[in-house]
């Protein structure tokens, strides 16, 4: 496996942090105390296909999704609807998915993305899967990002 297919926790965190800053000017850092963050109750995911198949999942607190939507739209968080919260997280899954496949595929990227969707999939970790995860503190709110990859045969 060459360097372009490696995606460790730190690299995953960096690309998510970059996506948040560029898309919505939301600041985030790897959380030193994840247990102190609000629990995740909003989920979005996106599949990717190519040399490996996999999935990127976002687990977030509702307040994170609300702040994200407000930042993207340039409005007050109190004006954001539940639908907009979900839309924002769904779009972030899309953007993070794109960043992940770019990191995995390099300049000759042969990965492609599916459509982002809400919810989470039951995940059974096995020997054939590569899992990478990071937990970020985004202005006091939780954002977890999980990248599951099925190891190529």
């Amino acid at each position: 496996m060459d360097a372009s297919t490696l995606l460790d926790q730190h690299a995953l965190a960096r690309l998510v942090i970059d996506a948040l800053e560029r898309t919505a000017f939301v600041l985030a850092d790897p959380s030193p105390a994840p247990d102190a963050l609000p629990e995740a109750d909003t989920f979005a995911q996106i599949d990717f296909h190519g040399p490996d198949n996999g999935r990127v999942e976002l687990h977030a607190s509702r307040a994170f999704a609300r702040n994200l939507a407000a930042s993207i739209l340039g409005t007050n968080a109190a004006e954001i609807t539940d639908l907009q919260c979900e839309e924002a997280l769904r779009e972030l899954a899309n953007i993070v998915g794109g960043s992940v496949i770019t990191a995995l595929g390099g300049s000759d990227c042969r990965f492609s993305l599916g459509l982002p969707r809400l919810g989470r999939s039951p995940h059974a970790s096995g020997a054939a899967e590569l899992d990478t995860a990071c937990i970020l503190d985004a202005e006091g709110e939780r954002l977890e990002v999980h990248c599951h990859r099925a190891r190529a045969a």
Partner: protein, 132 residues
């Protein structure tokens, strides 16, 4: 006079929240709000193009119903639409797909996540070349 004031822009993305964000950037680039249109997929985008003259399409690729590549192909097959400028704004990274989009006449590609200033500059560059 700013040439962008006379231009019509169509934002095509299946995410309503991102369409709103992109529309804001288009306004910042100098296009009046009543000249900015939106669509949630390629079919809706073609419907807009059949009723309104559009100078620039900002196009997502991964969409349901009709994706961006199918839309671009359809656009090029229509004599009255084939010269519309298209800029892809997408998370797409697949090299072969992006090459196909270039062969379909896509002028520029901006990967998400993008900085609003980068999109604003790109819109101004593309529309600034259009006659008033």
């Amino acid at each position: 006079m700013n040439p962008t004031l006379h231009c019509h822009v169509l934002v095509v993305d299946d995410s309503p929240i991102l369409r709103s964000a992109i529309k804001k950037v288009v306004k910042l680039a100098g296009v009046p709000e009543d000249r900015i249109f939106e669509a949630g997929n390629g079919v809706e985008a073609l419907e807009v193009l059949e009723t309104v003259w559009i100078d620039l399409v900002l196009l997502d690729l991964n969409m349901p119903v009709m994706d961006g590549e199918q839309f671009a192909r359809e656009l090029r097959n229509r004599p009255d639409m084939k010269d519309v400028a298209v800029v892809v704004v997408s998370t797409e990274a697949n090299r072969e797909r992006l090459e196909r989009m270039r062969e379909l006449g896509v002028e520029h590609t901006l990967r998400k996540p993008f900085e609003p200033e980068a999109l604003c500059r790109l819109i101004s560059d593309v529309l600034g070349l259009k006659p008033a």
